[in-house]
Amino acid sequence: MAFFFEVLITGLMVGIMYSLIALGFALIFKASDVFNMAQGAMSLFAGLALVGFLHQYMHLPLWLALLCTVGVMTIWAYVIVFVVLKPLVNRPPLMLFMATFGVMYLMEGIGQSIYGTQAKGLNIGIPDNSFEVAGIFMSSFDLFFAGVAAVLVAGLIWFFQKTRNGRALRAVSDDHEAALSVGIPLLKAWYLTWIIAGIVATVAGVAWGTRLGVQFSLSYIAFKALPVLIIGGLDSIPGANRPLFQALRSVRKRDS
């Protein structure tokens, strides 16, 4: 029985880690109908940038480095929206999907030429100790990121439900044209969405980067996150955070 619970909890933790990526997908899909292939690459880039600020090129304190990374992701959001998506407004979603494919190549290439191709360790000072509770091993690292994910999701829900801009973003995702007709500037809304997705990608990049090292494979996590996304619902932001499914899946896999 303890084994069962351990598997369940472990699965839950894995699920939360994946849901961080899935969240970014869902956000962008919802706000701009774009299936963002570059989500993984964004995480990669954020991780690389953070390593650059923290260990590689500069040695900034963690909070400043995080802030700078978010700044970098904001610039990316600007570039993507105004250079890539703006000329493609109202094109079929497939074209936008393809454009993000190009963005993926761009980000990977630029990221790796600036920061190099080796796997880099990322240490943000969260201890990866494990302790035992009732025969079940838990990792402080996992718990920390579960907490971060919870705060992030709560924050996003608050933002989307309660603030003016959040409401505007939801409006945009429901109906672009009607949103335009009540005076919500579409590009600004997209820009905002991509910034948020950039922040989510940063968190995901940090979480996965500390675990795996910051390296190219972060770009592939996105594919692994797809099942989470589909089960949770491609267009649902709370849905992206349904890691329970992951837990159940790993239980089933073990028992078979």
Partner: protein
């Protein structure tokens, strides 16, 4: 619309000029005798750390030889890189691009090796797969053009089992007593679930049967970023004594973290040599301390020849990789491969005279390699590489496996250099090669 059109035409012209300029670049002529080496590299993609190290190591060695005045003082190395991105189709394209000028090829990927073996056999170009590719290609009678110098996966795994037995108290000499120490041991073979990862399953199973230990295979789906479930199984259910970490790229790092989380001792994990580089353990941080891995060459810069590279090549700012990575595992691996090839060239020069070699002449050199301890000392690579002696039938040469441990900062050799169970492996190799020969309708050549 018109503006768009002209824009596009402009872009097309740009692309066309790109292609044209590339043609011109290819046409540039060489002046003195040059031995051309085509390098299949992968500097992008998930395994870029490996590819950049391997390629740059070779390039640095060749740069050093050129600075010394060339091969036998007469012939210069000339090399060109081609990015494969670890993709077989692109690897084939690179091979075809170089094939008229080159005499040997390091495919640097198991997939590309498979694609190139029949082609290179036809084109009379030597394929050297150091520590990857087909294990059964060590049989030179069936694979005359393929070399698995200095060792292959199957040899490695028998050495691993021997080493594990030694850790359990075996003296390392008397093969008849090894079974006593292995009996009842539980060894988990954690492998990435692609053909590369599955390759060692038969030899492990065969050994388990022979020596009476228990082996279970735990496949990790590609790319192996999350292995929580496998580790739960290994530690909680299987209760493994030893774990063989047979992964690649990021999936090498994950087990260390998972093991630490489940309090599985890291010094009971033994990695394949593709899981034994700095890039594999650094991201795991303290969790990696104590982790063992195999290797087939030494690590670090503490060898005369690498010091010479540091002085001469990097002193002249002609290095091919960031200076910090000189002496790292992948770098040294590429470097050692280049030394071996160089020795083969020298051997061939003895027979055919000092000239630009063809593939056939080079193969002769490869088959008559005899790198003795003394010669290694002469090269200045003592401890960096192992003695090698190849023959017409034996395309593996040494087969020796080095063991190293991560001390938290760098790889430290444990001092164990273990000879694999050569007879055992050879039997399996010959069986597998014979099967291949039968399938392909090859009559194995006879070696005297």
């Amino acid at each position: 619309m018109g503006r768009k059109l002209s824009f596009t035409i402009f872009a097309l012209v740009l692309v066309a000029s790109f292609i044209l300029s590339s043609g011109q670049a290819m046409a540039s002529e060489e002046k003195k005798p040059e031995q051309f080496v085509g390098l299949l590299a992968y500097r992008t993609g998930p395994f870029a750390a490996g590819g950049s190290g391997l390629t740059s190591g070779k390039e640095d060695f060749m740069a050093l030889i050129n600075m010394r005045g060339g091969i036998n003082g007469k012939i210069m190395y000339k090399w060109e890189e081609c990015e494969t991105a670890y993709n077989a189709a692109r690897g084939v394209e690179c091979y075809n691009r170089f094939k008229n000028k080159m005499f040997k090829v390091h495919p640097e990927s198991t997939g590309i090796t498979y694609a190139l073996i029949p082609k290179a056999t036809k084109d009379k170009i030597v394929v050297i797969s150091s520590g990857y590719g087909r294990a059964d290609a060590s049989d030179g009678r069936v694979f005359p053009w393929v070399f698995t110098i200095p060792t292959n996966y199957w040899s490695q795994n028998t050495a691993k089992i021997k080493w594990i037995a030694m850790q359990e108290g075996w003296d390392g000499k008397d093969m008849s007593t090894i079974g006593k120490y292995l009996k009842g041991l539980k060894i988990a073979n954690l492998h990435i679930d692609v053909p590369y990862g599955q390759e060692t399953k038969p030899i492990l199973d065969a050994m388990a049967k022979k020596f009476g230990f228990k082996v279970r295979h735990f496949p990790v789906p590609w790319p192996g970023i999350d292995q929580k479930a496998q580790w739960m199984d290994i530690v909680r259910r299987f209760k493994a004594d030893w774990v063989i970490n047979r992964n690649w790229g990021v999936s090498c790092t994950v087990p260390l973290k998972e093991a630490a989380r489940l309090k599985f001792p890291s010094n009971r994990i033994l990695g394949v040599w593709w899981c034994g580089a700095e890039e594999d353990v650094l991201p795991a941080g303290p969790a990696a301390k104590g982790y063992y891995s195999t290797n087939f060459h030494g690590v670090g810069r503490d060898f005369p020849i690498i010091k010479e590279v540091v002085d001469k090549v990097y002193g002249a700012m002609k290095g091919n990789i960031s200076f910090t990575r000189v002496g790292s595992v992948y770098y040294n691996r590429g470097f050692v491969a280049a030394i071996v090839d160089h020795e083969a060239i020298l051997t061939a020069h003895k027979k055919f005279g000092v000239k630009v070699l063809t593939g056939e002449e080079f193969r002769w050199g490869m088959e008559h390699l005899n790198i003795t301890k003394e010669r290694i000392k002469e090269i200045g690579a003592e401890g960096l590489m192992q003695p090698l002696k190849t023959s017409c039938a034996d395309h593996e040469g040494g087969g020796m496996v080095f063991f190293q441990q991560w001390d938290g900062k760098k790889w430290v050799s444990t001092g164990d250099v273990i000879t694999p169970m050569r007879k055992f492996v050879r039997g399996m190799i010959e069986k597998s090669a014979a099967k291949y020969a039968k399938e392909k309708g090859i009559t194995p050549r006879t070696c005297k």
